[in-house]
Structure formats: structure tokens, C-alpha cells
Subunit: 201 residues, 2 copies
């Protein structure tokens, strides 16, 4: 998605060879025009998958998935990283998710009230790195007896293992920007490096 890649190039910053900061438009300050375009692009990509629910994870997943659920006219559910006080402990699907960035486990939960067998769930997340969060969400969907209709990712770090892990389980993944490298403080996209390799040959 060219609009997103342009935002990453111009408004993102590379903190290290593994960390891209996009808090100018995605996960702290939110550019609602860009997030709306992203949401509508996910809706377009998965329109034939008969999605009945969109599931994301708090907090950064909410803005990019809002317009997707709105466009598909299905409910959005955001999984909680910490149980809410109004959430009955017995009444949740949960999954333990390891964050390599934060070096800690968190418990991701969805109330049993809002997922049911027969649901076709589109999972949306802001980043795909090692695939731990997305895997946790797929486990929750399957524990509910529902089906993963697909996985939509805003920014994929293609130099990490997440895509291979999820594709290995047979899921359809659509990433709107795929980053092949952050080396040398420079964002390189998968398509660009492929094009570059082609030009060199």
C-alpha cells in the first residue's frame, strides 16, 4: 500500500535494526485518514472471506481495524492484554503471548460472549514480527470453535519469523507494508529489494 509505505518512509523512524517507531501516525498519535484508508484496504482484501467478526488486540490494533469492521459492517472485538474488572475470569478465552520486544509474557483474553462457533474471524494487528500476538489470537478464535478467515497486518517485519510461522499453519496473511530490512537506519521494503535484485541481474 503506497500511502502507508510513504508514511513509514517520511514519518517513521528507525530506532535500531529491529525497531521501527511509527508513533507519529499509528500507535500513539493516530492519522485517522491513513487509518481509514488502511481499514478500507483490509475490507477490500478480505471482502470474499465472509467475515463475521474482526478481532484485534489492544491498543494499537484498534485504530487500523476500526474502519475495516465498519466497512464490512461486522463487530470489532479488541482482545485485552490484562483482564478487565468487568470481565468474568471463567468466561474468557485466553492465550499467553510472549513479547520479544518487551521481554515479557502477557495474558490475552476475549470474552466467551463475543465469539461463537460459526464465526469467521478476520484478525488485524499493527505489526507482525515473530508472530506471537497473531498466533495467540488464532488460538483464541479456534478455542471458540470459530474459523480464522484471514490475518491482516499493517506493517510486517519480513526479516523475522512471523509470516513463516502463520503460513505454516495455513492462514492467509495480507500485509500492507513488508519491510525486508531496517539495517543502517534505512527502511527497505520487500518489493524494493526484489526490484533491486532484478535490476542487478
Amino acid at each position: 500500500m503506497e500511502l502507508l509505505k510513504e508514511a513509514i518512509r517520511k514519518r517513521g523512524s528507525v530506532l535500531s535494526s529491529g525497531v521501527l517507531k511509527v508513533d507519529q501516525f499509528l500507535n500513539h498519535q493516530v492519522d485517522t485518514n491513513l487509518m481509514s484508508a488502511i481499514g478500507e484496504e483490509f475490507a477490500r482484501l478480505f471482502v470474499d472471506e465472509h467475515v463475521t467478526k474482526v478481532v484485534t488486540i489492544e491498543s494499537s490494533g484498534i485504530a487500523p481495524s476500526f474502519m475495516c469492521a465498519h466497512s464490512l459492517q461486522v463487530p470489532l472485538i479488541f482482545a485485552r492484554k490484562k483482564k478487565s474488572v468487568t470481565m468474568d475470569k471463567e468466561n474468557v478465552y485466553s492465550s499467553r503471548v510472549y513479547s520479544f520486544t518487551k521481554k515479557e509474557y502477557s495474558e490475552v483474553t476475549v470474552s466467551k460472549d463475543w465469539l461463537c462457533p460459526g464465526d469467521r474471524v478476520l484478525i488485524i494487528d499493527d505489526f507482525l514480527a515473530n508472530g506471537q500476538a497473531a498466533t495467540g489470537l488464532t488460538q483464541i478464535v479456534e478455542e471458540a470453535g470459530a474459523t480464522v478467515a484471514g490475518i491482516g497486518i499493517v506493517i510486517e517485519k519480513s526479516f523475522q519469523d512471523g509470516r513463516a510461522l502463520l503460513e505454516g499453519k495455513g492462514y492467509r496473511i495480507e500485509s500492507l507494508a513488508r519491510i525486508s530490512s531496517l539495517e543502517g537506519n534505512k527502511v527497505q521494503f520487500v518489493e524494493e529489494s526484489a526490484h533491486f535484485a532484478y535490476n542487478k541481474s
Copy 2:
């Protein structure tokens, strides 16, 4: 806002005389049609306040404020309850907020990059009870040298002290649903009880 009051009546549940559960449409599963209407209503109410930024607090504030920021065509910033790994500790405005529901303090932070003197900030939150979260956000806005243009609340528990606290500081508050009581497992709205009192007199 009648649409919201109807949702609270039909789809909310009263857990105790102090706790209303609205996770069917607001803070776990999200009804994007209702949230869009709420966001647009906030935009309409504050359109003359020359808002330059909308600030909310993760996670439940994001969905109801998204369309407000989008409609006003200004950035949305969601304050973090826990510092992000990509956030420089020296570079944040922060405020310590006590939650009466969770009985714990949390540190609410906004990066200094996204608020500046001259900004006119509309604060949006899902609930107003004791006003602690909203007060924390007003402190952050003022620490940045910016101006609080107003406070928009989705659901106000008018039987708690939040409104008095914030009005005492001179802020304009607009709540889309004002609840006067949750006693006896029943939601009573401020207008209804006023109307009821009028009928009785």
C-alpha cells in the same frame, strides 16, 4: 444522545450499584456504527472550539474518539497507561491516575512530540466517574502549555464526583449519556429522573 441511551438500556448490564458493563458495544466488542455516531456527535458539539488535537486514553477511548478526530480532521492521540518501549522516558508528559474501580495507580503518558503550546485539545473518554482519568489528561495538556478546549464523555455516572471536580476547574464537559442511578439493577438517566420529578410535582 438517544441512540446511545437505547444501547445502554438494551445491551448494557448493571453489575452493581456502581458498575455498568457495556462490553457488548463499547469497551470489548465495539459497535462501529454507534461509535461513529458518537464520534460525529462530539465533533458537532465542539466544532466551534477550534480543536487542533483530540486526546483520549487507551484502550476504550480509542473507538469512540476515532470518528470525532476524523470528522474534525485533526490528529488523535491516545495516552498510554504504560510506557511504550519505543517511548523515550525523558520525552513524555505524565500524570499519576488513581482508578477507584481497579484500586490502583497508573502512570498516564503522552510523548512531548505530539502536544505543543498553541494546541487546543479536546479530551474524550468512555466513562466519567470520579474524574481521575480526565483530570490526569487535563494536567498533561496544561503541562504541554496547550489549552483544554473541552471534555467529551460517552457515559457519565452523574452520581459520582467527576463532573463537579472538572466543572470546578472551569472546563466545558459534554456527556452523551448521564446516568443518575444504577440502584436496583436499573439504569436511570439524569433527564428521566428530572422528568419523573417534574411529573410527580
